[in-house]
C-alpha cells in the first residue's frame, strides 16, 4: 500500500528501524530508492515480509554471465505482480581487493556501474569477503560484468567451486603478520581463476589467510583450508617497554603471566622471562603488551583443514595438517597440497560433501594416506582413546 499523498511506499514497520542511534539499513534502502525503482520495490516487499513474518524470495535459479558457472546468485520475487521491479533481483559477487583497500575513485566507479545496471544496493562486504551488488535483472548481468572487468574487477565464486579467497589486513597495517597475507591471498586467487569461475567440485572450497593466531578472518571456523601465521623462534622482548607497561599500571603477573595457557612466563617485578620451548604461540601476552613483545623472526604459518558451518553433518573447526611452513615456501607448498587434496576429494567426495566431512567419513589416516602426508602428533589433541584400530590386513596383520 502506497501513501497516496507523496507517492512513497508506506512502510510503517520498517520506518521504526530508522529510529535509534545505530546506522539504519532502512535509511539506506530509502536513499537508493531515490534513484532506483528496484530499491523502492525492495523496500515494499521487505515491509510485506515484516508484516507476514515470512520471506518472499523464490528458490535460486540458474543465471550468470557468459562462460562462467558462478559469481551470480539468481533471485526472484514470489510476488512479481505486486513488486515487478524485484521480479528478477539477482546478486552479483565481485571479488574484492585483498585487505579490502580501495581508492575513492575505485569505489565511485563501482557505485556508478551499479547505479546504471542495478538497484544501487550493496553489501560491503558479504560473509566470504566479496563486494555484493544486490539486485539486477538477467539482461544486465553480462553488461555489468564487462563494465566491471574493463575497470579491473572480476566476479567472485559461488556454488561448488573455489570461493573468493580472503585474508586479514596483514603486513599492510599489522605488526603481527607472520606472512604476507594479502600477497598470498592475491596469488592463490589468481592461480585458481578457472576453479573459482567454473564450478567443478563436489561442493564449495574456501581459503582464508590469517596473519597470526588472533585469526581476524575466522579462518579456523570458516575455511576448508585455513592458513594461520605463526613463528618458531623466541618471542621478541623489549625489557624497557615491559617495565614501562608495568609502571603505567599493567599487572604483568596477573594480566600476562597468569593468563599464559602454558604458564611459561615469569615476572620478578623487573624482568619478564619466557621459556619459549613451552610457548604455544597463542598471542595473549603480545596482545596485552604490543609495544614490548613481538612474534619471533622465524615466521611462517600453520596449515589446517576442514572447517565449515553446520550443513550438513554438523559444524567443524579446521584441524592441523602441517604444523609449520616457512613464509617463503607457503605458495608452493599450498599449490602442491591443494592439488593432492582436490584429487582425493574428486575421487572420494560425495555430492555436497565438504573436505572436512569427507575426512570425518573416511578418517584422517586414510585422508593422509591419500594425499601422501605423514602423521605427526601436532595433528591431534590426543591419540585415540578407543581400541578399534583398522590395522592393515593385506600383509597378514601388524608385525
Amino acid at each position: 500500500m502506497d501513501d497516496a499523498s507523496n507517492g512513497k511506499p508506506k512502510t510503517e514497520l520498517l520506518d521504526q528501524l530508522e529510529e535509534g542511534p545505530w546506522p539504519s539499513f532502512v535509511k539506506e534502502i530509502k536513499a537508493a530508492s531515490q534513484g532506483s525503482e528496484k530499491a523502492t520495490d525492495l523496500l515494499r516487499q521487505l515491509e510485506r515480509s515484516y508484516e507476514e513474518r515470512k520471506g518472499h524470495w523464490k528458490h535460486g535459479g540458474m543465471v550468470g554471465v557468459l562462460g562462467y558457472g558462478g559469481g551470480v546468485i539468481g533471485r526472484y520475487s514470489d510476488l512479481p505482480e505486486e513488486f515487478p521491479q524485484v521480479a528478477h533481483f539477482h546478486t552479483m559477487r565481485v571479488n574484492h581487493p585483498a585487505g579490502w583497500f580501495y581508492t575513492s575513485d575505485a569505489l565511485r566507479t563501482i557505485c556508478d556501474i551499479w547505479e546504471r545496471h542495478g538497484s544501487g544496493m550493496t553489501n560491503m562486504h558479504g560473509s566470504t569477503g566479496d563486494i555484493i551488488l544486490l539486485g539486477t535483472t538477467t539482461d544486465q548481468l553480462e553488461p555489468t560484468f564487462q563494465e566491471l572487468a574493463q575497470n579491473g574487477f572480476d566476479l567472485g565464486g559461488s556454488g561448488s567451486a573455489v570461493r573468493t579467497p580472503n585474508c586479514c589486513v596483514g603486513m599492510a597495517r599489522c605488526e603481527w603478520a607472520c606472512f604476507d597475507t594479502m600477497k598470498l591471498c592475491y596469488d592463490v586467487t589468481q592461480a585458481y581463476q578457472d576453479e573459482l569461475h567454473r564450478p567443478a567440485f563436489a561442493y564449495k572450497f574456501k581459503f582464508k589467510f590469517a596473519g597470526c593466531p588472533n585469526d581476524c578472518v575466522a579462518s579456523i571456523a570458516r575455511a576448508d583450508l585455513s592458513v594461520i601465521g605463526t613463528w618458531k623462534d623466541d618471542i621478541q622482548v623489549d625489557d624497557a617497554e615491559v617495565a614501562n607497561y608495568a609502571a603505567a599500571g599493567v599487572d604483568i603477573q596477573k594480566e600476562v603471566c597468569d593468563l599464559c595457557p602454558t604458564k611459561t612466563m615469569g615476572w620478578d617485578g623487573k624482568k619478564l622471562s619466557i621459556d619459549n620451548r613451552e610457548c604455544v604461540h597463542c598471542m595473549h601476552c603480545i596482545n596485552v603488551l604490543p609495544k614490548a613483545l613481538r612474534p619471533g623472526k622465524e615466521r611462517g604459518a600453520v596449515v589446517l583443514i576442514g572447517a565449515k558451518a553446520p550443513i550438513m553433518q554438523g559444524a567443524l573447526l579446521s584441524s592441523v595438517l602441517i604444523p609449520f611452513v616457512p613464509a617463503e615456501e607457503l605458495l608452493d607448498t599450498l599449490k602442491e597440497l591443494v592439488k593432492r587434496i582436490w584429487d582425493f576429494w574428486d575421487e572420494y567426495g560425495t555430492n555436497r560433501e565438504r573436505v572436512g566431512e569427507l575426512i570425518q567419513r573416511v578418517g584422517m589416516p586414510a585422508f593422509l594416506d591419500g594425499i601422501g602426508l605423514e602423521p605427526v602428533p601436532e595433528m591431534v589433541a590426543a591419540p585415540r582413546d578407543n581400541p578399534y584400530i583398522f590395522f592393515e590386513t593385506k600383509n597378514g596383520g601388524a608385525k
Binding site: F25, G99, L259
Partner: protein
C-alpha cells in the same frame, strides 16, 4: 555468420592488485610495522620501524548500503585520507590518516552522518550477519532488522572499551550460517521448527529425488509415490529442521511465520589467544520472531552482555568466563531456563555430557 563483439570480452582477470589501492604510507611501511596503540575507542595509531605513524579511525556501517552512502565515504576519504579507505572483516569502515590533526574533524563528520566510531580493544565490534528477508529464500527471519535493534540497545558497548575482553556477536538467518556464527561470543540464529511441507505436485518437475534423499543428514526422507508420480515422504520425528533438503529441492519449503524463530548461542571464539578456538553453545533454544524490533531477542542478548560485563575477569572472553564459573552458574546468573533441548542428542553427543563428579553447589 558470426558477428565479432565490438570490444573483446574480458574474463578471468581476478581481483585488482591490492597495491593499486594502498595509501602511500602503507606502501612505504608495508611489513615494517613495529607496534600499535589505541588512542581512543575506534582510533588506532600504528607506528612503523621508520618512525612513521598511521592513524586509523574505525566506524560502523549497516553493511547493507546504498551507493549514495559509499560516495559519502569516498568524499571523506578524499577530504582526509588522500582518497584511500578500507573495510574490515566485521563490516566496519576504516579511514587511514597521516595527520593526527584530522582525527577529530573526521570523527565530527562521521558523527554528523550517523556512523559511530568505535569497535576497537575491549569493546563490542559490529555484528557480522547474513541477508535475511532482504535477499534470501531460506531465511527464517530478517538479519538487518535484528542487528539494528540489538546494536541500538548495545550502542555504548561499541563506542566504549569497558568490557572484560573483546566481544563478537554474529547473526545468521538459518542453519546454513553464512556468517561465522558458530564460533562467536554471542550468536543469534534464525531457526525453523516445523518440518518442510512437501509439494508433491511440483516435486518431480523441479527436484532430483535421489539427490533430495541424500541431502538429509538424518535419513528422514524416503522415496514414495504420490498419485502415481515419484515423490518423497518424511519421517517427521527424525527432522531437525536444518533445511538442507530445501537447499537442493525448492518443493520442500519450511518457512512458517508462526513457528520460525530465533535461538541464542554463547561462548564461541576463533582467536587462539589463551584458550583454543571453540564453538558457541546453546543458551536459549527458541524466541519468537517479532519484527520490526524483536524485543525478546534484544532483551536476551543485552542480558548476556550485562551479566558477562559484570562477572567476567579482565581478558576473559564469554566462553572462557563460562568455562571458569560453570554452565549451571551461567543459567543461574542469566535466568535462562535450562531445558531438554540444551542437552545434545545429535552425533557424538556424549562429548558434551558432564563426565566427572566435579560439581559446584
Amino acid at each position: 555468420m558470426t558477428t565479432a563483439p565490438k570490444t573483446p570480452r574480458i574474463t578471468d582477470i581476478g581481483p585488482p592488485h591490492y597495491q593499486k589501492f594502498l595509501p602511500p604510507l602503507v606502501k612505504k611501511n608495508y611489513g615494517q610495522w613495529k607496534y600499535h596503540e589505541i588512542l581512543a575507542p575506534g582510533v588506532l595509531c600504528h607506528v612503523a620501524e621508520s618512525g612513521d605513524r598511521l592513524y586509523t579511525v574505525r566506524a560502523a556501517t549497516p553493511r547493507l548500503m546504498a551507493v549514495q552512502t559509499l560516495r559519502k565515504f569516498a568524499d571523506l576519504a578524499d577530504k582526509y585520507c588522500g582518497g584511500h579507505l578500507r573495510f574490515t572483516s566485521r563490516n566496519n569502515i576504516e579511514f587511514l590518516l597521516e595527520d593526527r590533526n584530522n582525527i577529530e574533524p573526521l570523527k565530527c563528520d562521521l558523527a554528523e552522518l550517523g556512523f559511530p566510531v568505535g569497535g576497537t580493544g575491549n569493546s563490542l565490534s559490529n555484528i557480522v550477519h547474513t541477508q535475511g528477508w532482504v535477499h534470501c529464500h531460506s531465511a527464517a527471519t530478517d538479519a538487518s532488522g535484528i542487528v539494528k535493534s540489538v546494536m541500538d540497545a548495545l550502542y555504548d558497548r561499541f563506542t566504549h572499551q569497558d568490557l572484560p575482553a573483546k566481544l563478537r556477536i554474529a547473526m545468521a538467518c538459518c542453519l546454513n550460517m553464512c556468517g561465522a556464527v558458530h564460533c562467536s561470543d554471542i550468536a543469534i540464529l534464525g531457526i525453523h521448527t516445523v518440518p518442510p511441507k512437501i509439494q508433491h505436485a511440483t516435486l518431480p518437475k523441479v527436484c532430483e529425488v535421489p539427490t533430495l534423499i541424500a541431502s538429509c543428514p538424518t535419513g528422514a526422507i524416503r522415496p514414495a509415490t504420490y498419485e502415481g508420480k515419484p515423490s518423497v515422504e518424511l519421517i517427521e520425528e527424525q527432522c531437525m529442521f536444518c533445511g538442507n533438503c530445501y537447499t537442493v529441492c525448492p518443493a520442500m519449503p519450511l518457512n512458517d511465520p508462526e513457528h520460525d524463530g530465533l535461538s541464542i548461542w554463547v561462548g564461541g571464539k576463533v582467536s587462539n589467544a589463551r584458550s583454543a578456538p571453540k564453538f558457541s553453545k546453546l543458551a536459549v533454544p527458541f524466541l519468537p520472531n517479532h519484527p520490526p524490533r524483536w524485543p525478546e531477542v534484544v532483551d536476551a542478548v543485552v542480558k548476556i552482555v550485562d551479566v558477562y560485563a559484570k562477572n567476567a575477569r579482565k581478558y576473559e572472553r564469554v566462553g572462557e568466563w563460562i568455562e571458569r564459573v560453570g554452565w549451571p552458574r551461567f543459567f543461574q546468573l542469566t535466568g535462562f531456563e535450562f531445558t531438554r533441548y540444551h542437552i545434545d542428542d545429535f552425533k557424538h553427543a556424549g562429548l558434551t555430557y558432564a563426565r566427572s563428579a566435579q560439581i559446584k553447589y
